[in-house]
Symmetry: C2
Subunit: 375 residues, 2 copies
């Protein structure tokens, strides 16, 4: 076990109808005016928007709407929102949507209290010191953003997808109502499953010190995701499976799975961020292509842990059988495992490598080997 | 999954030498004067006391010593400390010791801001509204108190062992340095193992709704405790095992294992509290006597979960085999499983039942059945 500090101040309100109290949760922080950030107009059609705004009105909280955040959220949209938030003297940001909306909201919360360009924080030109308080109603399980201090944004001009972390951008209160997540399409359900598994395995396989207890916790998350995804494909209304899927997603990236570990990295996310920045593929779909390819390339560097994974998660006996079982499972649930499923081919490999030229994790040769496993 | 709220604001500082920064952690809360609560003089002999007070002095924090807290801490001692804390205008309580010292410290923190008798909160005469900030260096892994809002105290006059819970008594910062825990005797190590397992199984077996993910997390804790206890019995200096044991202990009772569950209770603790209130047996030793006895009596009410436990933790196939495996493991590590190991016999059963007459969990007949399994 390595030394660590653990602190996660986000309050989770989990369950049916919790979003109807959002105004009360904001009032507890004495918030009088929020920026209400969302993605598509879908939130207005399904009644969620009304629930939220009714609760805000009942609690005399003024709100300014900011819709139109897209998947793989882009900097331009966020910069527009920051201008509005500054002009309107917004006191807090309320995100209603999935990870893209929440990551945008976190970035808006940081940018509103900053005089320069918020992208400065993503490229390390400045350190985050402050942010507006952030609240969210998370409508898609996967991101983990509802209980951590990360945000990932794409700069559409430079084609970079980069992240920030700050203790200032842990949401104050996150509402997870599994019922709100059942309108997610089957496609996005399986992409989410892939995303949660990716969050789980990055540290699990790459850490230089990995306590066995943490491995057990990660395996618990992955087994839960596999089990509940299969239930939800059959019956999207299974509340219990929906709830366990959502809570496993939150736990996969709230810091509890990596305490006491040492020097882990996010190689799968690194490569995938390039895929979604270049070709706008859904993040989880990109990850299910990257993971088996990376695992086949990497496993010999930590074979004991890959054998553990094979045994504990799939009841298999070797590292390669475990990787194959995961890939087969991705195929079974219908999330991509090859680049051609995005209409990409060998020809795109050099473009991806070029896009990844600013990272230090891999050499170009190594990337070529990994990417060739995706053909 | 049931609806839940989850919020755990304790900051954990885990690892080697962390206690040397205690003054810095207190300063971050602008604390200038603390009550330094501890148990025996042992903390002075092993250098811990000097480390702590040096750090306080370096950060210009005044401290008043209050030693002499005993195992199964008693109300009288706490009342004495509250008088001192009031008189000295103490701003925070710093606990240096195990669960008994920390639970006493929490109670002192509550009582110092209350005009009446602090026992009022234990017997439900009043609700906790405020407490001094609490900090701790936990020297024994078991209690979980370092990351929750519980405290358990014995009223030596009424022979009642009761608990309080309040969001006000989560420690602000808890220091867990596994190295400080290696001076714990082999006896107390195995009692601690029993205690952690008891914390883990109460909800696991009694909840009316138990998400599978939560079962997996509990099993991860129990498997880790079993594995690391065996390592530590062989080699008390194994830092890695000591660290995993400590962190599993914290997680067993920090609220993460029971989210989304419904209506669980603490039957084993209920019965054990009577044993330690009447005969002053070590809490963990009492629990390893109570658990197999209670499990044999209870398992048919939730047999599927007992079969799950048998399979996942011990690789056994039936509920009774799982219970037997746990009892055998307790015998193997040397924590008691029968009342006669406390020099108690059949003759004491009526006394224990009498002591438990104020609870609603069991009838007298049921208690008789459970207690007869301890003979």
């Amino acid at each position: 076990m390595e030394n660590f500090s653990f602190y996660n101040p986000t309050k989770i309100e989990f369950g049916k109808d919790k979003e109807k109290n959002i105004g009360k949760y904001l009032s507890a922080y004495n918030i009088k005016k929020v920026l209400l950030v969302y993605g598509s107009q879908r939130v207005k059609k399904d009644g969620l928007f009304d629930s939220v705004t009714n609760s805000l009105k009942e609690n005399s909280i003024e709100f300014i709407e900011f819709g139109g955040v897209i998947s793989n959220p882009i900097l331009g949209t966020i910069q527009d929102a920051i201008k509005i938030a500054k002009k309107e003297n917004i006191e807090a940001v309320l995100s209603v949507g999935g990870g893209s909306v929440l990551d945008s909201s976190k970035t808006i919360a940081v940018g509103t209290l900053y005089d320069g360009d918020v992208w400065d924080f993503f490229c390390g030109k400045n350190a985050i010191e402050n942010a507006l308080p952030i609240f969210d109603i998370i409508t898609l399980a996967a991101t983990g953003s509802e209980m951590n201090g990360y945000a990932v944004v794409t700069n559409e001009k430079t084609k970079q997808k980069l992240s920030i972390w700050s203790s200032c951008i842990y949401p104050k209160v996150s509402i997870i109502n599994p019922e709100l997540q059942k309108s997610v399409s089957k496609e996005y359900l399986v992409y989410s499953a892939s995303d949660i598994i990716a969050h789980s395995i990055e540290g699990y396989f790459t850490a230089k010190v990995q306590p066995t207890y943490m491995s057990r916790v990660v395996e618990s998350i992955i087994k839960t995701v596999i089990e509940t995804t299969e239930i939800l494909i059959e019956n999207k209304d299974d509340y219990s499976a929906r709830g366990e899927f959502a809570w496993a997603a939150t736990n996969a990236l709230n810091g509890t799975t990596t305490v006491g570990t040492k020097d882990f990295s996010f190689p799968n996310h690194l490569i995938e961020h390039s895929l979604s920045a270049l070709y706008n593929v859904p993040h989880g779909a990109g990850l299910s292509v990257v993971m088996p390819a990376w695992m086949k390339w990497y496993y010999k560097q930590n074979e004991a842990q890959f054998i553990r994974f094979a045994k504990e998660v799939f009841g298999k006996n070797s590292a390669l059988e475990g990787i194959e079982a995961l890939e087969n499972w991705f195929n079974k649930i219908g999330t991509p495992t090859r680049l051609n499923q995005f209409n990409l081919s060998k020809e795109n490999i050099s473009e991806i490598i070029e896009n990844l030229s600013n990272q230090q994790e891999f050499t170009k040769e190594e990337l070529k080997e990994i990417l060739s496993n995706m053909i």
